[in-house]
Symmetry: C2
Subunit: 350 residues, 2 copies
């Protein structure tokens, strides 16, 4: 171990110890921020040092995912929801994930300014995460960060992400309750929801309810939900569909993030959903699903890392290469890799 | 197997059979283009159907990698080199790889127009490949495509790529002879060469030799090479350094891609390098290195694919998840993944 790694690990240890301290305060909050930075810069290698120590402290937070297209008023609503929880005396953390941006990482995005009034609140923590080509990927880093914040002792963790492609699915894989924001007049966004968001949505939010078309949008969503109840959802193990809650009809809530109108009703529904998860056993099902994905991501990362080392350090590989260089039928890279894999997988998983 | 896959496989088979036909002609050339499209769209899954059948026909082409910054005159020089080989009666193929572009894929890039006069030449084949987020990645797709073109019967395969980050290393991992183009007056490009290109360069080309500073650039490179001979290159197995040719000093050749000046000298040196590789046994060493990387990429792809299926279908994983949900020390996702991996890897590679 080099001195550099040693010193980094000593630092990590210092912050981990601070985080484990049950007493809250600015020092502990700073330790939280620093540990997140270690994850952002060091990826799964850093997480491997941090998470095992903090994991026993996790599992307590209610994790709320909020997703929606740009312009749907996500940040304002997130801010408003945060305020309500803070007023209840709860500790609230926001992770703002932007998979479309290669920037930030600790820095605060422009529209975060609105949350400014909370910055000095000791019970509030906010962190932006962007796609900086992290080792292991942004989705994995987000999972790590959620766990660190959970261990820190945040009662509520809001993971907010802009709704693009894979990111809503990722948020669903991390949250207890997923809110999808769909304001009126965002063109064919309703189409996008039909296409796949329905399976991951626990609560639909029609934000900017003061605008024309809000009631129309609510009606559209309700119709879609009526229709959706009869849809046979395929059991695709890699997708979210498998833990879709039977018996939970996603409520459609109109809100105004700017004025705070109806936000208490939204909070009631979030709470109602959490209770539903606990009472029906879906909370556990979802956790199982979530941890499978977490483990898959960790395994993928370390497998890929290890396979390179192994192929280059293992003598057996040279026999395979010799075969390859004979250019004979059945000795091509794909057939040989398949043979390696088959043994590899059978030995362990049979 | 669905009908769709069946019909795709029937198509692949048709083109594979056409490619195996020793007689050349437009039908065979079309089959080549179609098979490359299958690789681009189907990734390693398609390659798995194609490569094993064609592999015994490979290993005959001389693969030349050409890399350089945008504006270095790569395409013009590639065109000029191609012409010389064509005049010698050889079959020439060009794969233009652009990892910075998400477009093309079969389409021809703008600056390819210069090669227009060769388009109708039955001995010439050109294909652009861009970074379209291919399954398995662009580097892997390029390796697959090289093999298909090799099986097709191309004497010379030129893999041209814009010199950015990983792409030069990738090209080195595919080619017998790697040319690095560094025209005069490209600012601090010489710095970049110092930083890592030196290990992968077999021939330095100072293109646009008519420009001011060409001789200065040649002198700089020669000095760097004088200096480099005394540099202890680290034995980093995952990098190119390990197969750096002892005893080969990369020549520095001035060329003018537009007029063709000195291109014959460049070709002589390419040939000289190929003979050197064969006579010293470095050709085999490099092939071993190359196939290790190829296998690693294939293994990575299928491992990642398999691990997801396995984690979701294997019962054993549920025991791990149960442990996780106890939130106890030593039962966190990282420690559990490590345990899974350890068995996984030890069982097979010990």
């Amino acid at each position: 171990m080099t001195t550099e790694i040693q010193s980094k690990n000593t630092q990590i240890q210092k912050y981990v110890d601070l985080l484990k301290n049950p007493e809250k305060g600015p020092k502990k909050k700073r330790a939280l921020a620093r540990l997140i930075t270690f994850i952002e810069n060091g990826g799964p290698e850093a997480a491997k040092e941090i998470i095992p120590q903090l994991y026993p402290l996790t599992g307590k937070a209610h994790i709320i995912g909020i997703t929606g297209a740009p312009g749907s008023g996500k940040s304002t609503l997130t801010s408003e929801i945060s305020n309500h929880y803070l007023e209840q005396g709860l500790t609230v953390s926001v992770i703002a994930v932007d998979p479309t941006s290669p920037f930030t990482g600790g820095a605060i995005l422009g529209d975060r300014i609105r949350m400014k009034k909370n910055f000095t609140n000791p019970n509030f923590f906010i962190r932006s995460m962007a796609n900086r080509g992290q080792l292991g990927g942004l989705a994995m880093a987000t999972k790590d960060v959620i766990h660190i914040i959970d261990a820190y002792g945040s009662d509520i963790i809001i993971v907010e992400t802009v709704g693009v492609g894979q990111s809503e699915i990722d948020i669903f894989k991390s949250a207890h309750t997923t809110l999808v924001i769909t304001p009126p007049g965002l063109g064919d966004e309703i189409q996008a929801i039909k296409a796949g968001l329905m399976e991951i949505t626990d609560i639909f939010v029609v934000n900017k309810m003061d605008r024309d078309g809000a009631d129309k949008r609510v009606a559209e969503l309700e119709t879609m939900l009526d229709f959706g109840e009869n849809i046979q959802i395929e059991n695709d193990y890699s997708q979210a569909k498998v833990v879709r809650c039977d018996g939970w009809r996603p409520p459609v809530i109109k809100t105004n993030g700017l004025t705070g109108e109806n936000v208490p009703i939204l909070l009631e529904n979030i709470h109602r959903h959490f209770i539903f998860l606990e009472e029906t056993g879906f909370k556990k099902k979802r956790l199982q699903f979530r941890y499978k994905h977490y483990i898959i991501e960790i395994l993928k990362y370390f497998l890929v890392k290890n396979v390179e080392e192994i192929v280059f350090s293992n003598e057996k590989i040279n026999e395979f290469i010799e075969k390859l260089l004979a250019y004979e039928q059945g000795s091509d890279p794909y057939t040989i890799s398949e043979a390696i894999l088959e043994v590899f997988l059978n030995r362990y998983f049979s």
